[in-house]
C-alpha cells in the first residue's frame, strides 16, 4: 500500500507523539483522489458536526439580517441621501434588523411586553408546539439517513398517518383514554406501513428509495385529497369543502399547561420518542446493525447482518415516527378537522431538521425546536415589524445550504478541515466510488490496497 494517505490537510486531530507511533499507524489507507460522489456527499451532509451546525445558523442569520436591511423601506429611503448623511442609513439598517430579530425572539421565546410571566412565556410554548411534529418527522428522516436511506417520504407518511388517526378520531366512538390511544396508534401504524412499503420495495427489488418516496408522497396526497372530497370517506357530512369533521373531544391530545397554552401532550410523546431513538441507535443491537448497514452494507452482509431486513425495519420505524408527526397535527394542533394541507410542509422541513441535527436524535430535537422557534417567531416578526415571513424561509434554507457546504462555513470562520471524520469518511466512500479509478474487474477491486 502506498503512503500518500498521510493526512493531506491540516493538523492531526489529536496530538500524537510521532516518535511513539510509526507513521503507518497514522495513515489511513485511502486515496484523496478517490473521494467521490453521492454517498460521500450524503455522509458529509448528514454527519456534520454540532459546531458547524451552529455556525451555519449564525451565518444564515447574518445573511438574513442583510436581506432585512435591504428590503426595509426606511433603509431604502435613507440610501437615497447616503453621502450627505450616512449615519441615517446605518441607523435605519440597525433599527430594521434589531427590530426584526427582537420581535423574532419575543415571538419565539419570551414576550417582554406581556403583563405577567404567564403571558410572557406563551411564545416559548408556541415554539414547542410548532417543534413537536418537526422533531417527530425529523427523527424518522434521521433514522433512515443512518441506515443509508435517503428517505424524503415523511410528507406522505404524515399524510397517511393523519388520515388514519383523524378517521379514528372523528368516526369511532370509544371511551375516554382508550380512544386517544387507539387514534395515536392507528396513525403511527399507518405511517409505519407507508414507510414499510419503501423498505419492502428496496429490500425485495432494489428500487431506489428516493424515487419510491417521492411517488408515495404524490399517491398519499392525491389519495387523501380524493377521500376528503368524497362523502362517506373522510369528508365532513353536509359540507362541500374537502375537509374532515372535527375530532371528537376524547381523541384530542390534552393540553399540557392548561387551556391558556396550545402546548399539548404530543410534546411529551415526542420527547419519549427522542429518548427511544437515542437508545435504539446507540445502545441497542438493532441500532448497531442499522448503523453498520448505513456505513458499510458489504461488511454488514459478510458479518451476517441481514441487510434487507434492516432496510425494512428502518423504514417501518421511520414511517412510524413521521406518522407520529401526522398524529400530532390532527389530534393536537388542528383538531377542528383536517384538509390535505395538514402536513403544512413539515414533511419536507423534517429533512432540513434531520440534516441540521446531524442525524442524531438530540441534534434533531434541538434543530426541531429551532425551526419551531422560527415558525412561532416568524409570525410575530411579520405582525410586529411588517417583515415578510418569506425571510424566515430564506434563513431556514440558507442554514441548510451552509450545512451542505461545510468547507464554505469553515473558510468563513477560518476553521481547520477536520482530520478524522473527513478522512475516514473518504476511506469508505472511496471504495464505493469508481469515478476516477478504473476498477471494473473483481480482481482489481479486491486488491484495492
Amino acid at each position: 500500500m502506498s503512503d500518500s494517505q498521510i493526512p493531506s490537510r491540516g493538523p492531526l486531530p489529536e496530538p500524537l507523539e510521532v516518535s511513539q507511533i510509526p507513521p503507518s499507524e497514522l495513515a489511513p489507507e485511502v486515496k484523496p483522489e478517490e473521494e467521490s460522489r453521492s454517498s460521500a456527499l450524503l455522509r458529509e451532509i448528514t454527519t456534520s458536526n454540532a459546531l458547524l451546525s451552529v455556525l451555519a445558523v449564525v451565518l444564515a442569520l447574518v445573511a438574513g439580517a442583510i436581506l432585512i436591511a435591504f428590503t426595509d423601506e426606511d433603509v431604502q429611503a435613507s440610501a437615497g441621501y447616503f453621502f450627505s448623511r450616512p449615519s441615517d442609513l446605518l441607523t435605519a439598517a440597525w433599527e430594521a434588523v434589531s427590530g426584526a430579530y427582537s420581535s423574532l425572539f419575543q415571538g419565539a421565546i419570551y414576550n417582554f411586553r406581556a403583563d405577567n410571566f404567564q403571558a410572557g412565556i406563551r411564545p416559548l410554548t408556541e415554539t414547542l408546539t410548532f417543534a413537536t411534529p418537526l422533531i417527530a418527522a425529523g427523527l424518522g428522516v434521521a433514522l433512515s439517513f443512518r441506515v443509508g436511506l435517503f428517505n424524503i417520504g415523511a410528507r406522505g407518511q404524515m399524510l397517511v398517518a393523519s388520515a388514519a388517526a383523524g378517521y379514528v378520531g372523528f368516526a369511532w366512538e370509544l371511551p375516554t383514554g382508550i380512544h386517544l390511544i387507539v387514534a395515536v396508534l392507528a396513525g403511527i401504524l399507518a405511517g409505519a406501513l407507508w414507510g414499510g412499503i419503501v423498505g419492502l420495495l428496496k429490500a425485495r427489488t432494489g428500487a431506489h428509495e428516493v424515487i419510491v418516496t417521492i411517488m408515495l408522497n404524490y399517491i398519499a396526497f392525491y389519495l387523501i385529497s380524493f377521500m376528503l372530497r368524497t362523502p362517506g370517506l373522510l369528508q365532513a357530512p353536509g359540507s362541500n369543502n374537502p375537509k374532515s369533521p372535527a375530532m371528537l373531544p376524547t381523541a384530542v391530545l390534552p393540553d399540557l399547561l392548561g387551556p391558556r397554552y396550545n402546548l399539548h401532550l404530543g410534546f411529551l410523546v415526542v420527547l419519549v420518542a427522542t429518548v427511544y431513538v437515542w437508545y435504539l441507535l446507540n445502545r441497542s443491537s438493532l441500532g448497531f446493525q442499522f448503523r453498520a448497514v448505513g456505513e458499510n452494507p458489504n461488511a454488514a452482509r459478510v458479518a451476517g447482518i441481514k441487510v434487507k431486513n434492516m432496510y425494512l425495519y428502518a423504514m417501518l420505524l421511520a414511517g412510524g415516527l413521521a406518522g407520529l408527526a401526522g398524529v400530532n397535527q390532527v389530534l393536537g394542533t388542528v383538531t377542528t378537522g383536517f384538509s390535505s394541507g395538514i402536513d403544512a410542509g413539515i414533511g419536507f422541513d423534517a429533512i432540513t431538521v434531520a440534516l441540521l441535527g446531524g442525524s442524531t436524535p438530540w441534534g434533531v430535537f434541538f434543530a426541531g425546536i429551532l425551526f419551531g422557534a422560527f415558525k412561532a417567531g416568524g409570525f410575530a416578526m411579520q405582525a410586529g415589524q411588517g417583515i415578510p415571513i418569506d425571510i424566515i424561509v430564506v434563513v431556514q434554507s440558507l442554514i441548510v445550504l451552509f450545512i451542505a457546504a461545510p468547507p464554505l462555513v469553515r473558510s468563513v470562520f477560518h476553521l481547520p478541515a477536520p482530520g478524522t471524520k473527513r478522512r475516514s469518511g473518504r476511506g469508505k466512500s472511496g471504495k464505493s466510488g469508481t469515478g476516477t479509478s478504473a476498477k471494473p474487474t473483481k480482481s482489481a477491486k479486491a486488491v484495492n490496497q
Partner: protein
C-alpha cells in the same frame, strides 16, 4: 533525464512524512524505492509529481531546479506517473483516455481522435504492447489497463516514469510482463522510479535500491542482497520471512466439499464442480491466479453466494442453503479478501468492529441491548493480545494502517469458537512485519486443531503456510498437491496444466 531530489521535507501537522530525503535517479536506470506501508514513499512521489508542495528541499531535472505547482507542470517537465489506482475513465476508449487532458481539436472543437489512435498504435508498436485504441477501458484486463496508463505517460514524452506499487493489482504473469516492459523502457533511455515493498520484484529489475523508513532514507541496498537483509533494512529489525511451523497433525476430515458449483449474476459458472476435504489441524491453501473462482468459492462456503449447487458439510452438518448468520454460528471464521470493503466498517470504532459479526447475540447483546462495558473490556484485551497499535479502543478503524486493520479482523474472527477458519488473501497489501504476525496466527490456529483454508495468489504465502495445496484454474481444481511442491509445478498448474508424475492426488 537525470532526476535529483535534494533535502525534501514534507510535514502533515506534527507528522513528518518526508524528512530531508535526498535521491538521485540517473538517466536510464531503474531505481527502486523500498519501504513499508506508511514509510513516506508515495508522499515523496506526490511531491515530485506536484500533488503536494514540500516545505523544504528542491527538485532538479538535469541539474535545473524545477518548481511544480501541480501535476501539469510535472508532466510538462517530462515526469510521468503510473498510479496504483488507475486514473482512467472506464467508459472511455483507450485513445480517448490517452488524449484526455491534452486533446487535439480541429474545426469548432472537434476532437482529433485519429491522431490519438495513431499515437496509441505507435507507442504500442514500439514496446510490443497489444492494445487496441478503440477498446473500452472497462472491458480490458487490469494488466492491459496499466499499459494504457504507461502509454498515457509516454504519449506526453515522459522521460522519468514513476510506478507507484504497480504490481499490487497484477497477477503473477502480468507482473512478469510488466518487468519486461520496464526493462524495455529502460533500454529506451527512460528513467524509472519503482515503488514497492515486494522484495522479489526489486531484485529482478532494480539497478539501485533506496530504502526508506519512517520518512527517512535509511540506506541503499544492493540488488544482490538477500531478502532477509533487505527486509530488516525496511522494518528496522530482523524479521522471519517464513514462519516456523511443525509438520501438520491432521485429524479427521472436518470440511467436506463435493461437487460444489457456483453461478454468478452474469450466468457464468465461476466454480465448476469442485470437491475437496480439509482435515482438522491442517492448512489447505487454495492457490491460483486471481479471478479463477477462489473468491466465489469462499463466498459460497460463507453463504454469500446465491446460486450454489453441490454439498458442503462441516463436521457432518450441511452448510448449503444457510444464510451467513447461520454459517457464522456454525463456527466458521472468515477473513474476507477485501478487508476494507467486506471486513470492516471504517467509521466504526475498533470495539464496534470487534463485535460486528456477533451483533445480535451474547455476550455482546443481552435483551436487545448492547453490553458496552463487556465490549470495552473485550476490546482492551484483544488490543493487547493482537498487538493492535492504536490510541485506544474508540479509534476509528478507518484511521488504522492496513496491518492493524487486518489484526482487528483476525482478533474478531479468532475470538469465536471456531470449527473452520477461512482466510482469503490474509496478507494482501500488508508490510513485512504484519505478514509475519498474520502467518504466525494462522499456524497457531491450525495447531489448535482447527481446519484452515488459506486462499492466496502469492506463491510465497502458499509455500509458507500450506500443508496441502489445491490449485484453481477457471473454476475447477486442477489438482491437490503436497505443501512442498516446487514452484515450477505450481506455476504450470496455475496455468491449467497438470504435470505428469507430480504425485497429484485429489
Amino acid at each position: 533525464m537525470k532526476l535529483e531530489l535534494r533535502g525534501i521535507t514534507k510535514r502533515f501537522g506534527a507528522l513528518v512524512a518526508n524528512d530531508h530525503i535526498d535521491l538521485t535517479i540517473e538517466a536510464g536506470e531503474i531505481h527502486c524505492l523500498l519501504g513499508e506501508n506508511g514509510a513516506g514513499k508515495s508522499t515523496l512521489m506526490n511531491v515530485l509529481y506536484g500533488l503536494y508542495q514540500a516545505e523544504e528541499g528542491e527538485i532538479l531535472l538535469d541539474d535545473v531546479v524545477q518548481h511544480f505547482a501541480g501535476p501539469g507542470d510535472a508532466m510538462g517537465a517530462g515526469i510521468g506517473m503510473v498510479h496504483q489506482h488507475f486514473m482512467l475513465i472506464p467508459v472511455f476508449t483507450v485513445a480517448e483516455n490517452v488524449m484526455l487532458g491534452h486533446e487535439e481539436t480541429g474545426f469548432a472543437g472537434r476532437l482529433n481522435l485519429a491522431s490519438a489512435r495513431a499515437r496509441v498504435r505507435e507507442i504500442s508498436a514500439r514496446f510490443g504492447f497489444d492494445v487496441d485504441p478503440d477498446a473500452l477501458v472497462e472491458d480490458l484486463p487490469v494488466g492491459v489497463q496499466q499499459r494504457v496508463e504507461i502509454i498515457k505517460a509516454l504519449s506526453r514524452d515522459a522521460k522519468v516514469l514513476v510506478f507507484d506499487e504497480p504490481t499490487a493489482v497484477l497477477t503473477p504473469q502480468e507482473t512478469d510482463e510488466l518487468m519486461v516492459i520496464m526493462k524495455q523502457l529502460k533500454a529506451a533511455g527512460t528513467s524509472i522510479v519503482f515503488i514497492t515493498h515486494k522484495l522479489r520484484e526489486v531484485r529482478e529489475v532494480a539497478d539501485r535500491i533506496t530504502v526508506i523508513r519512517l520518512g527517512k532514507v535509511v540506506g541503499e541496498a544492493d540488488p544482490k542482497a538477500s531478502n532477509a537483509e533487505m527486509a530488516s533494512l525496511m522494518v528496522g529489525r530482523s524479521v522471519e520471512l517464513t514462519v516456523q511451523k511443525s509438520p501438520a497433525a491432521p485429524g479427521a476430515a472436518a470440511l467436506v466439499v463435493s461437487n460444489l458449483s457456483v453461478i454468478d449474476a452474469r450466468n457464468q459458472v465461476v466454480v465448476n464442480s469442485v470437491s475437496f476435504e480439509v482435515h482438522a489441524g491442517e492448512i489447505l491453501a487454495i492457490a491460483g491466479v486471481q479471478g479463477n473462482g477462489q473468491t466465489e468459492l469462499t463466498e459460497a462456503l460463507l453463504g454469500l453466494q446465491q446460486r450454489v449447487s453441490g454439498e458442503v458439510t462441516l463436521d457432518g452438518r450441511s452448510l448449503i442453503g444457510r444464510n451467513v448468520r447461520q454459517v457464522l454460528n456454525a463456527g466458521v471464521g472468515f477473513v474476507p479478501e477485501d478487508r476494507k470493503e467486506d471486513g470492516l466498517v471504517a467509521e466504526f470504532t475498533i470495539a464496534e468492529n470487534l463485535m460486528l459479526d456477533r451483533s445480535d447475540t451474547t455476550p455482546f447483546v443481552r435483551g436487545g441491548t448492547l453490553q458496552l462495558k463487556y465490549l470495552a473490556e473485550f476490546a482492551e484485551t484483544k488490543i493487547g493480545e493482537f498487538d493492535i497499535r492504536a490510541q485506544g479502543i474508540t479509534t476509528h478503524v478507518g484511521r488504522l494502517s492496513g496491518g492493524n486493520q487486518q489484526k482487528v479482523v483476525l482478533a474478531r474472527e479468532l475470538s469465536r469458537d471456531l470449527r473452520l477458519f477461512v482466510a482469503a488473501q490474509p496478507t494482501r497489501g500488508l508490510d513485512v512485519g504484519s505478514i509475519e504476525f498474520v502467518h504466525t496466527r494462522i499456524v497457531e490456529t491450525r495447531d489448535a486443531g482447527i481446519p484452515v483454508i488459506v486462499v492466496s495468489t502469492e506463491l510465497d504465502e502458499v509455500a509458507a503456510l500450506a500443508d496441502r495445496i489445491a490449485v484453481m484454474y477457471r473454476g475447477t481444481i486442477v489438482g491437490i498437491v503436497p505443501g512442498n511442491t516446487p514452484r515450477e509445478i505450481l506455476g504450470l498448474m496455475m496455468a491449467g496444466e497438470l504435470p505428469a508424475g507430480s504425485g497429484v492426488a485429489a
